[in-house]
């Protein structure tokens, strides 16, 4: 991946969707992990929309959901897709572009 400066998109409005299938332990873990990370890094400028596919199965196709749980970052663009219960916060941060690659922790 190229490590270059890009024009920062509007980072004041984060729109995240969390796809789950019922209240399984994995979904609950994923939600609390996501909430924690967002509070830490995006306090006040994010929304999390939880979509339960057991209730709205038709919504799975639009975001090409296969794995559960999945987090889709709709805003800011580009769309990012993270699967799993978000236990590996390092990868979550990379996946959400919250920590630019190459920057030391």
């Amino acid at each position: 991946m190229l490590n270059m400066e890009v024009i920062q998109p509007d980072t004041n409005n984060w729109n995240l969707r969390l796809y789950v299938a019922g209240q399984t332990p994995k979904s609950l873990t994923a939600f609390s992990n996501l909430k924690k990370i967002c509070e830490e890094h995006l306090a006040g400028r994010y929304t999390i929309q939880v979509i339960d596919l057991l209730e709205c199965p038709e919504l799975a196709e639009g975001d090409q959901i296969m794995a559960i749980p999945t987090v889709v970052r709709h805003l800011p663009p580009p769309v990012k897709k993270l699967i799993g219960d978000l236990a590996n916060s390092e990868r979550v941060l990379i996946g959400l572009d919250l920590r630019p690659k190459g920057q030391s922790i």
Partner: protein, 491 residues
């Protein structure tokens, strides 16, 4: 268990879903196992997707069973376009709620794995699609793409196992396609999960002619054909050519005899000609009158108001008709009456499979009681000798089962090998007539003998073939013939 049935193939207890694919249901003895998954595997480009799609489309159109096509490779739009060339109007089937096309996009580069997950989302999508039209059939093409989308192999395998169990519980008849990989049937060993019915497709090029083959590797709980069967994909979809060693037993011999159209030949065959539904081979070297003998048979059949289908592989229809007229056989009028159908085609024009599919289709369409092929040796250029022998055997079996009398001529090299029928198909002929050319005292004479005639007391002595403007006749062997009998006909 019930005691064994006396028949060889007891009525299968397994319920089957007809695939609707021409010829496939004969070799699977009725179709795919209903409510269970079937695996279709093969190399790239061997027709897996076409097979799977035809299973769905035919299911929707012929069996009233709606189906879901889950594509992991092509988008729904691509599928609609690609299959319109096979005459499948997927868009309107979708509108009528008979088919759902669902494209599942898998791309590892777009997905970041951050912890434990399962594939419940895929299950939900499948269930949603199935429920939306009350689907009875589903195709997963090709599910192995999942392995390129996720890194956790162990989890995937566990989920696949769950998926197939779930499909069985749902009672949908599933077709799963898989790419051939190395020594295994599929790259990821999907066959391990789909164990009820496994079908292998193959596409190879021999002598610059591509042939597709299908083999039923396994079919749990059901008898099935075990051979490799050729199949063809053309504008009418898939056609498998069994056709059909499984039901050969159903052929019941016939007592009815039909005339060969040559009185003298009938006399050699016990006075009544050949059995209806039998297979007659006429062999001989070039110019011995094989076609003329076949022409007589055709005329005799037409005269008794039965249909005859005549394939000319070496002459054009007009050439054949005028040659026949020169020996006093008026076949024009039989064409006009609708009792004779003559088709001429160069065997090299198509591959062997395509020819046979066309022949099968013509037989289905015209329903003749006699089929003549003149000569079958022309097929030698369109396949290997063993292939041709095999395919022709199947073709003749197919006619036999339908009570169609068949006759074919075969060109032999002359000389010593005259009696050695090539292609190994002399054994399938019930009646074998051989015409040899004998050179003696500076003249050539043709001698006809009945090599074999199953179930018919036939003459063992040879007769001389005389071809005049009033047709073929046979005479006792006599080297000093009146000179006015000239050889008017060709072959």
């Amino acid at each position: 268990m019930r005691p064994a049935e006396p028949t060889l193939l007891p009525p299968s207890l397994l319920v089957k879903s007809p695939s609707g694919i021409n010829g496939l249901d004969e070799i699977t003895n009725g179709g795919f196992p209903q409510g269970r998954p079937t695996l279709i595997c093969g190399n790239a480009g061997c027709g897996k997707t076409v097979f799977a799609m035809e299973f769905l489309v035919k299911g929707a159109l012929q069996c009233g069973e709606p189906g879901v096509f889950v594509s992991f490779e092509e988008t729904a739009d691509d599928l609609r376009k690609n299959f319109s060339s096979l005459g499948f109007d997927l868009a309107s089937l979708e509108k009528e709620k008979k088919i759902v096309l669902s494209y599942v996009h898998v791309d590892k580069s777009e997905i970041i794995e951050t912890g434990a997950y399962d594939l419940e989302g895929l299950f939900i999508r499948l269930e949603h699609s199935i429920n939306s039209i009350g689907a009875k059939r589903i195709v997963l093409d090709t599910i192995e793409s999942l392995f390129s989308g996720f890194t956790n192999d162990a989890l995937l395998r566990a989920e696949l196992r769950r998926l197939f169990r779930w499909l069985k519980e749902k009672g949908v008849t599933a077709v799963i396609t898989g790419e051939r990989g190395g020594a295994a049937l599929t790259r990821q060993g999907i066959e391990e999960y789909v164990s009820d019915c496994v079908i292998l497709l193959d596409n190879r090029v021999i002598n610059q002619i591509s042939t597709r083959r299908i083999t039923i590797v396994k079919y749990r709980g059901s008898p099935h054909g075990t051979n490799e069967y050729p199949f063809l994909i053309d504008s009418e979809g898939v056609s498998v050519l069994p056709i059909t060693s499984l039901e050969l037993d159903s052929h019941k011999g016939h007592d009815t005899r039909i005339s060969t159209g040559i009185d003298d030949l009938d006399k050699m065959l016990g006075g009544q000609g050949i059995f209806k539904g039998s297979t007659m081979l006429i062999s001989g070297s070039a110019g011995t009158g094989k076609t003329s003998v076949a022409g007589h048979l055709a005329k005799a059949t037409c005269r008794s108001n039965e249909k005859c289908l005549f394939f000319c592989f070496e002459e054009s229809t007009n050439q054949f008709l005028s040659n026949m007229r020169s020996i006093g056989l008026d076949l024009f009028s039989e064409i006009e009456r609708g009792y004779l159908i003559v088709k001429s085609a160069r065997p090299t024009m198509h591959g062997l499979e395509e020819h046979l599919v066309k022949i099968h289709r013509l037989i289905e369409e015209t329903k003749p009681s006699l089929v003549i092929m003149d000569p079958i040796t022309s097929f030698i250029n369109s396949g290997t000798v063993s292939d041709i022998g095999l395919m022709l055997t199947r073709l003749f079996d197919y006619m036999k089962i339908r009570d169609i009398t068949s006759a074919f001529t075969m060109l032999t090299d002359g000389g010593e090998s005259q009696d050695q029928a090539s292609l190994g198909i002399s054994s399938i002929a019930d009646v074998w007539i051989s015409i040899a050319r004998i050179r003696s005292k500076g003249t050539l004479t043709r001698e006809l003998s009945v090599v074999k005639a199953r179930g018919i007391g036939h003459s063992d002595s040879s007769r001389e073939v005389l071809i005049s403007s009033s047709g073929v006749s046979l005479a006792e062997l006599n080297r000093s013939l009146p000179p006015e009998i000239k050889n008017a006909g060709g072959r």
